[in-house]
Structure formats: structure tokens, C-alpha cells
Symmetry: C2
Subunit: 175 residues, 2 copies
């Protein structure tokens, strides 16, 4: 595509004190909105998995739907939405994860993928890894094989990567 | 692609009494999960807009992110997330729409697109058209031009199409 690789970090906007004081939020909307950067990021997320036989790409509501769906279409794979509790209309499996105070849970349709399906998990952000770990448990519950985890941004200080071992993790930008 | 066009309706699952008694919910997750049907639906959503000069595709949280992002990547356009109130981290414009009881609102970043940008609005479902009408108002607020509206499913009884005139509306499946 472009002769020099795009510096994707240029399309991330830092927002201090959001969603609350002391947090520096990495806003991906300028990256999404850029007609060169968005397809380039989708392509880069796919790159290590082009020959991995990915049959399904799963993304977690809501921002995970954006890159997940685009990656699925690019890999000619199906897309599986993992949703917040109570949003999916059919029978579900559920997995909980810790919040700062309390827990929440995410769900997948029981028939989302056939047994043994090769699934790539996609999200915009890898922080503590709690949500992604719950997503991996959902994949176990439906007997799918996680072939990898692809995220746009990793916040390395939060050590999410360690929680997700031994899965193959691919990120585009590390802070 | 396939020699005979895929019958996309075969991938829609009817769920009676969801989210509440008396509603027949059209579940798109089997369509999303199918490695032939999902890319075919994305392709079909794009088809009338291939030469429309679409610069941005906007989708409404959360299911609108799925098809919106895949269509954006396919059209080599940027993707603009329209989110529920309070979810976007920067300065926003807001538009409200009616619920059965009360109102809710959706938001867009003020700098989401440049003035005069050509935007395609994408969602999974066109029902009463209330949310999509609010999305059109958001586009007016940021001085964008809506080149069309593309939805996977239209529930024709609910007459959403009439509310969205004179915009060009493209749907794949009508009930």
C-alpha cells in the first residue's frame, strides 16, 4: 500500500482525566476516521494470522466490534459478537470478570461456533486483560480453539499479557 | 463470488417474544458467523455506493459498529462511531430520539469528519427509523453530507423509511 509504513501512534489522541481523574485515555477515533490509517490497522491486525486458518473472529462489545468485524471481513471469516450480559437473544454461555469494584459478565451464543473452530479474538485495547481472559473462557465453554489475540493498543504497565499466556498476542501499539 | 446469490434470509434466526412478549426478534448472529454470508452481506451493503465517493461510514453503537466497520474497510473509507450518551471521550454533538417510554440520545465527536464530508450511515436494522433520524441530525450538526443509508434488515410495517426521506435507503432484507 503506502511506501512508508504509517505511524499509527500519530492517530491516537491522548485525553487526560477520562473517564475519570488520573486516567490518560487513548482515543482511537482519529485512527478509525482516517481512510488510510483504518484499513492499514485492520491489515496489520490480520497480518500474523493470514495463514492461521482463522474461521471466526470474535470481538467484545462495543469497541471490539469495530476492529473485530473489519478483521473478519478481511480474513473472509465469520464474526462472533461477545456481548454484555442480557443483550444476546438466544441461549448463552457466560463468563465474569473483575471491575474496580465488583464484577461484570460477558456472553456468547451457545451455537456461536462449531466445536473445534479456530477463533481469533480482537479488541481495541489490552489493559489488565480481564475482559479478554473472560472471552478466552467463553471460547473454552463452546469448545473453540483460540488461535490468537489481536489488539490495537497494549498498556504494558497493566500486565494483561501475562494473564493471557500461553495465547499468541499481537498488538500494533504499546504504551 | 458464489455463482448463485446467497439467500441472506436463510441466515436470520427468528426469536419469538424477545426482548419482550409479542416481539419477533430477527437475530443476525447466524449471518455474522457465516464465512460466506457475512462478507456477501458486507459486499451487498456497499454495492450501490461503490461510486458515490463515500469518505466516511458511520455506525450506531453497538450492532451498527459491526456492519459499519466492515463496510468502511471494504470501501476504503474512515469509520465514525456514533455512541450512546457519555461514551465518547472528547467534545460531542448530541441528538435525542424517542423510546417507547421517554427519550435517549446518541453522540458524535465534534471533529469526527471535516465539513462537507460524504458519509454513508450503516446499521443492522431499520425499524421505526428514530435512531437513524437522530444519526442524520448528528451529521447535519457536523456539516456532513449523508450520501445514503444502508441497513441489513428493514421492518416495513414500522414505516421508518418515510421518516428518513429524502435520503437514499438501501436494505438487503425486508420483512
Amino acid at each position: 500500500m503506502a511506501k512508508e509504513p504509517l505511524l499509527l501512534t500519530r492517530y491516537i489522541r491522548d485525553i487526560p482525566d477520562w473517564p475519570k481523574k488520573g486516567i490518560l485515555f487513548r482515543d482511537i477515533t482519529p485512527l478509525l476516521a482516517d481512510p488510510q490509517a483504518f484499513p492499514a490497522a485492520v491489515e496489520a491486525l490480520c497480518a500474523p494470522f493470514q495463514k492461521a486458518g482463522v474461521q471466526y473472529v470474535a470481538g467484545v462489545e462495543a469497541r471490539g466490534f469495530i476492529f473485530g468485524a473489519a478483521v473478519a471481513a478481511r480474513l473472509q471469516a465469520g464474526f462472533v459478537p461477545i456481548r454484555k450480559k442480557g443483550k444476546l437473544p438466544w441461549q448463552t454461555e457466560s463468563a465474569s470478570y473483575d471491575l474496580e469494584y465488583g464484577t461484570d459478565s460477558i456472553e456468547i451464543h451457545r451455537d456461536a461456533v462449531p466445536r473445534g473452530a479456530k477463533v481469533l479474538l480482537v479488541d481495541d485495547l489490552l489493559a489488565t486483560g480481564g475482559t479478554m481472559q473472560a472471552a478466552c473462557r467463553l471460547m473454552e465453554k463452546v469448545d473453540a480453539e483460540v488461535v490468537g489475540i489481536a489488539c490495537v493498543i497494549e498498556l504494558t504497565d497493566l500486565k494483561g499479557r501475562a494473564r493471557l499466556a500461553p495465547h499468541k498476542i499481537h498488538v500494533l501499539i504499546s504504551y
